[in-house]
């Protein structure tokens, strides 16, 4: 029941293919700080095209900061971020989505004052004209928010907000999706649904995902590659399967 992974075998095949897939997003020696606090300390990792890369680690390990630095919300003090070979370290935040990178921030980034539908429309703004049918498909995916489409987003429940932001990110049709704790506050069924959906999109559409999760077990069950952060440093990078099987490592860093 606790394993939302739809296809037990996916990880194996994906992990097997890791070595050959091209790196879509590369992070090199990234360091960033909040005042005196160094939250990222020389992080190097890469997310390959058509793969789900899970970033794991205890609370405060720097996972959120990593995603925020990649998308430019936090400016790094050193290091580089490359997207499809292009250096985007200094690119403005608002340019990222146009380059094919969608970031779903931690903590339900809905725009509370706008309606559900307007929230989605904002997500599609940069693409110019977007057909109504694309919106309808997001609503089909998350019927709960469809019922609320003309209400201001602040009336949504915690989980409904999470659905809205994920749906909004999908509407951007990104090449790579940065997800910060997407399962937060979601019912197990929805978590399973979303992870399954991600797997599907990755497998069939070549989407790439950089997934930050607190819930290491379910994250590893869907991911191809796992990266473990500790105190702002990468301590392990390996295939999800290997990480799952390595009991010492799991105990040391992932708490299960």
């Amino acid at each position: 029941m606790a394993d939302p992974r739809p296809h037990g075998s996916t990880a194996v095949t994906a992990a097997g293919g890791t070595a050959t897939a091209p790196a879509l997003l590369e992070v090199e020696d990234l360091t960033s700080s909040y005042g005196p606090v160094r939250a990222l300390d020389g992080v190097t990792l890469s997310a390959r095209a058509g793969r789900i890369t899970a970033v794991l680690g205890a609370n405060g390990a720097g996972k959120t900061t990593l995603l925020r630095t990649i998308s430019g919300l936090v400016r790094s003090s050193s290091g580089r971020v490359l997207l499809g070979g292009e250096d985007i370290t200094a690119a403005p935040v608002e340019a990222m989505v146009g380059k094919g990178m969608a970031h779903v921030p931690e903590g339900r980034g809905v725009i509370a004052e706008l309606t559900v539908d307007e929230n989605l429309r904002v997500g599609a703004l940069f693409r110019g004209k977007v057909g109504r049918d694309e919106f309808d498909r997001i609503y089909d995916l998350f019927p709960r928010i469809a019922e609320r489409r003309d209400q201001p987003a602040h009336v949504l429940s915690g989980g409904e907000r999470q659905m809205l932001v994920i749906g909004r990110a999908l509407l951007a049709k990104p090449r790579i999706l940065l997800l910060d704790e997407p399962s937060l506050g979601l019912a197990p069924r929805i978590v399973a649904q979303i992870f399954g959906l991600l797997r599907q999109l990755v497998d069939t559409e070549g989407l790439s995902v950089l997934l930050v999760e607190q819930n290491a077990r379910s994250a590893l069950s869907v991911a191809d590659v796992g990266v473990v952060l500790n105190l702002g440093r990468v301590v392990v990078t390996d295939s999800a399967r290997t990480l799952m099987d390595d009991e010492d490592l799991r105990h040391a860093y992932l708490g299960f």
Binding site: Y34, G35, V37, R38, N59, G60, N230, L231, G232
Partner: protein
């Protein structure tokens, strides 16, 4: 629970932020006495500590008033009423998060009360009159507070703005009683005997009326700040800040939001009433044109520039209000501008200073200093642990 794990697993985060959040209220967030703890060189009792501070401040005030010239004395009297009102506004806006653009109107209430009581054939003693000003302003403040308790942000701003322009209008309408546009002239009571003796023993200066009023202002200021500081450092202040920071959580902790908002309004109205009383004495007039919107806005400006939420900030901000315009005017005159040009320069510079201050010191004087200090302390302690 194994917090030790947590701690050891995140030493970087452990040093994270000794500093307060750098919001405008950074200055406000000095923890209450009991919560801060651990200062050894001051008495542990809040009462003794604050009384000690008052004593030091009183001595400083006497020295200041005796070494400065009569005009500075009069400016200090002006400063005192601005600072009293700004102190009250600090409680309301800084600690409780309610913006008021209408405190000038509450000062008017205090001023008119004082003027009316002083116009009696045999006026009450001055302290009683000022107390009456406080009481009446408190009553009006309670009324406004009740109406305002449900309002937020700009709506509260708008309502209090209307208060600022509306209330003085009553003085024009009830002109028989309140003197209309011309206002009520105030015959400030003369300095008593003992005061003259006191001054001549302390400094040998002569006890002019200006000096007397400056002393009255200073005494009122000290009393007000003593009481406000007591509140700020007590549970009352903490509860206000809780209401400001997170309504729902505060409510769930058993705090009646409305009642506490009204209480904050009442306390700040009381201060405004006293300020109005002192203003009436110093200006010698209570007239609608003395309580324009500009006054209310200046008070708000003073507390933000000084450092929102800090009484010291309110005092410094008020000093800026009082001393900057004449300084600029004189500077302008020094550059050879004629009197008109110099006068026009003052508001220009004042406006520019406000803008620059907010850009370069967004937490106000006190808040910025406090943030600096905390940051450097955090750096030092970080350095220490990394060595250790």
């Amino acid at each position: 629970m194994t917090v030790s794990d947590l701690q050891s697993s995140a030493p970087v985060a452990g040093q994270a932020t000794e500093e307060a959040p750098t919001t405008a209220t950074a200055a406000a967030n000095a923890p209450s006495a009991a919560a801060a703890g651990g200062r050894t060189f001051l008495p542990r009792s809040t009462l003794l500590r604050h009384l000690l501070l008052v004593l030091v401040a009183a001595v400083a005030a006497v020295v200041l008033l005796e070494i400065t010239d009569p005009f500075t004395n009069s400016q200090l009297a002006t400063l005192s009423y601005y600072a009293i009102a700004a102190g009250g506004l600090t409680v309301l806006t800084g600690m409780n998060g309610q913006i008021s653009l209408g405190h000038g109107a509450l000062m008017a209430v205090g001023a008119y009360t004082t003027a009316l009581f002083l116009s009696a054939d045999e006026p009450l003693p001055l302290p009683a009159i000022l107390l009456a000003a406080v009481v009446v302003a408190t009553a009006v403040g309670a009324l406004v507070g009740v109406a305002a308790a449900r309002l937020h942000g700009p709506y509260l701003a708008g309502a209090t703005l209307a208060l600022a322009v509306g209330l003085p209008g009553l003085a024009i309408y009830f002109n028989e009683w309140l003197g209309g546009d011309q206002g009520l002239r105030v015959r400030a009571p003369r300095a008593p005997e003992w005061f003259e003796q006191f001054i001549s023993t302390v400094s040998g200066n002569s006890a002019t009326n200006t000096k007397w009023l400056a002393y009255v202002g200073a005494i009122c200021l000290l009393i007000t700040y003593f009481l406000l500081a007591n509140l700020v450092r007590s549970r009352i202040g903490r509860t206000w800040r809780a209401v400001r920071d997170q309504e729902v959580a505060a409510e769930l902790a058993g705090i009646n939001l409305g009642a506490w908002r009204v209480l904050a309004f009442v306390v700040s109205a009381a201060a405004a009433g006293l300020a109005g009383g002192v203003l009436a004495l110093v200006v010698r007039l209570a007239a609608p044109s003395g309580f324009t919107l500009v006054l209310s806005l200046s008070l708000l400006t003073a507390i933000v520039i000084g450092g929102l939420g800090s009484l010291l900030g309110a005092l410094l901000g008020s000093a800026l209000l009082v001393f900057l315009p004449p300084f600029v005017t004189d500077l302008g005159a020094g550059w050879g501008l004629d009197n008109t040009e110099a006068a026009q320069l003052a508001p220009f510079v004042y406006g520019v200073v406000l803008v620059l201050a907010m850009i370069f010191a967004p937490a106000g004087f006190v808040g910025t200093l406090r943030t600096r200090w905390l940051t450097s302390r955090a750096k030092r302690s970080a350095a220490r642990t990394s060595r250790g």
